[in-house]
Symmetry: C2
Subunit: 360 residues, 2 copies
Amino acid sequence: MVRPDRKRPVTSVDVAAAAGVSQATVARCFTTPEVVAPDTRLKIEAAADRLGYVPNAIARSLKSQRTNIVGAVVPALGEYWQNVVTYFSRRLTARGRQLLLFSFLDHAEVNETLEAVMQYRLDGLILASANIAEAQLARMRQTGLSLVAFNHPDAAGIVPSVTVDNEAGASELARHLAGLGCTRVLYLGGVAAASTDRARFRGAARTLASTGATCNYMEAGAFTYDAGYRAADTVVNLDRLPDAIMVGSDEVAFGMLDGLRRRGLTAPADVLVTGFDGLPQASWAGYDLTTLVQPADQLAEHAVELASGDGSDSSDAPPPSVVVAGTLRRGLTTRKGDAGRARPGSYSRRNCGTEPSAGR
Amino acid sequence: MVRPDRKRPVTSVDVAAAAGVSQATVARCFTTPEVVAPDTRLKIEAAADRLGYVPNAIARSLKSQRTNIVGAVVPALGEYWQNVVTYFSRRLTARGRQLLLFSFLDHAEVNETLEAVMQYRLDGLILASANIAEAQLARMRQTGLSLVAFNHPDAAGIVPSVTVDNEAGASELARHLAGLGCTRVLYLGGVAAASTDRARFRGAARTLASTGATCNYMEAGAFTYDAGYRAADTVVNLDRLPDAIMVGSDEVAFGMLDGLRRRGLTAPADVLVTGFDGLPQASWAGYDLTTLVQPADQLAEHAVELASGDGSDSSDAPPPSVVVAGTLRRGLTTRKGDAGRARPGSYSRRNCGTEPSAGR
DNA sequence: CGATCCTATGTATACGTATTCATCGTTGCA
DNA sequence: TGCAACGATGAATACGTATACATAGGATCG
C-alpha cells in the first residue's frame, strides 16, 4: 500500500492528481460513471484503489443536501421493539440507507435528544411509539424531513403512519375464541392510555359482543412480563375465572402464563390465553401461544419506504396511512381438544406432543 | 413562527444577519459560548430561536473532522444481541454520540456494507462477533477510526477489545455444579468454531477436571432456541443421562429445557441445566435458569468509551483489552433441594414457589 | 498619561464533494 | 468542406460551519 502520510486522508483531489484528470471527473466517476469515458474511468479507479480512496459521505451530504441516513426513535425496553429494530436496519441497508438509532427509556428524554438528532439533517425519521409534541412535529416537517409514525395510530392523519391492523387483529382473535365457545372473556391490556391498547380492546369487545359474549377490561400497568405475572394473581382471585384471557401483548401474556402456572392453573386446561404481536418466543414450545402475528418485515418495509422519501413529496396530499393485516397463530394455549388430555391435577406440559414451529 | 421561505433552511448566516453580528460569532455561540459576551449571546439566541435555527452537524463534521457518530456492526438474530444494541444506544446518547447501526444476517454482507459505512467517517466502530478480514481491519485503522471488538476474544491483541470473562464465568458455573455433586457433565456448545464457545468450554472442562468430573463436548450447531430444542433429542438418547448439561448460551438453554420437557424430563429433577449470558428471560418464572449474567451495561460502557476515541491515541501502546467478570445467577434449574419436591412422574412446574426476580 | 495586555468580535479561508457552465475535439450530415 | 450537434472533460463555485488571524476597544499598570 502507498503511504498516504497517515495524517491527511486521501481525497478526490489526490486521486485526480494521480490519475491526471480533474477533481470533477473523479467525482463523476463515483456518482454517474456512465458519463465518463471507459478508459479514463479505468485510470481513475486504478488510482483510487492504489491510494485507498474512500469517498467522503459527509462532504457529499453537505453538497447534495441528502444524507442517506434515516433515524429511528424506539423504546429501549420490550422484546417487541428490539425485534423491530433489526428489521428496520435490514430494510434500510437493503435500500442503501443507514440507520441512526435512538432508544429511549423515558418519554422525557425523547424531546431532548431529538434536538441533537435533528442536527444531522436526516432524510427520514421513524417514530415508534413516541409521543412527540405536535409543535415539534410541525417544526420537523418544515425541514423537509420525512416523518413516519410506526405502530402509533394516534398519529395517523397528522403524520404518515404505518401500523398493523390492531382492531381487526383483536377481532380475529376474538372470533377464534368465540368459535371455541368462550362467553366470558377478560381483556388484559398493558397501558390503557396507549392507543394500540385501546384499538385492540375495541376490536375484541365489538366482536365478542356480537356473539353475545362479555369482555371486561383490566390493566396490567405496563407492557412487560412482570406486569403480566402479577396480573395473574388478580385474575386467580376473581370470583369466577373467565373462559379466556386476551392479553394485549405477547410479553405480558408470557408473564400471565407463568403466573397462572405458579397458582396451579394452566392453559388451555383451566383458561384459554391469547397474546398479540407474534414474537419469536410465542413459537417456543415452552409457551406455544395463540397470538396475532405482526408481519414485521412488511411493516418495516413500508415504514422505511415512506421514511426514505423516494415518493413524490407533494405536500398537499393527505399523509398516507398504511395499515397491514396480521395473521392468526393457533397455539397450544387455545387448543381445547388438549384440555382433556392433560390429567386433572397434573398440569403437566410433557403431554403436549406438538413440535414447535420453526422459531424463524 | 417566522416563515423561513420553507425552501431554504436557515443557516448561521441568517441568524448572524438577524442578530446584527458576524457568522463567526454565531458559530462561537453554539460551540464555545463562554467566549462570547453575555448580551450578544442573548441577542443571538433570541434570533436563532425566532428563526428556528438548528446547527448543521454535517457541515460541522466536515470542518471539524469529527462526526460524533459511532457505528456498531451486530448480528441481526439472537436475543442476546438485540439486548446489547439497546445498551450501546443508551450509553452513546449519554455521551452525546449517535449510533449508526448495521445488523447482518450473513457474514458475507459485512465486508460489503462496511465499505458503505466507512464513507461516513465515523469516530468509532464497534464490531460485535463479526469476522472482518485483517487487511480490511488494517485499512480501517489507518483512517483514525477507533475500532473495538465486542465479545470477540479472537481479536484481542489485534484490536482493542471488550469481552466478558468467558473462561472464568464457565469455571464458576462448573464449580457451582461440582459443589452440587455433579461428576458427569455434558457441555453443549453453539458453534464449535466460535471463540467464545471454545473459551467457555475450556473454563468448564478445566475446572471440572480438577474436581475429578468428566466434561464431554457436544455441538448444537447454532446459537438458537431451535438448535437447543433439537439437541435435547440427542441427549435423551444417550446411553446414560449426564448429571448436568452446561449450555453455551441462554437461548440454546431455553430450547434444551423445552426439548427435555417434551420428552418427559425436567430440570433440576432429572438433570441440572445451566446457561450463559443472563438474558432477561432467564429470570422469567417459566425458565428460572441458572446462568452467568453478563454485565451488559458495563460491557457496553467500556466499548463505547473505547470507540468514542476520547483517550490518548498514542498508537504505539498495545491495544487495550478489557475483560469484565460476570456474576452467577442461581436459578431453579440447579436447585437440587427442589428435585425431591416434584413428585416423580409428574414433572409439574406448579410446585416451584419461587418469585421471579424482577426482570429488570 | 502612554504602553501593554486582554476580551470580544469581524474577516477570510478551508473542509471534500456535486454540479453548472464553458471548452474543446469529434462526428454526422448536408 | 462547413456547420451543428454531441460527448467528454476542466474550471469555478456553493454547501454551512469552525477557526486562525487580525483588529478595535477597554482595562491595567508603571
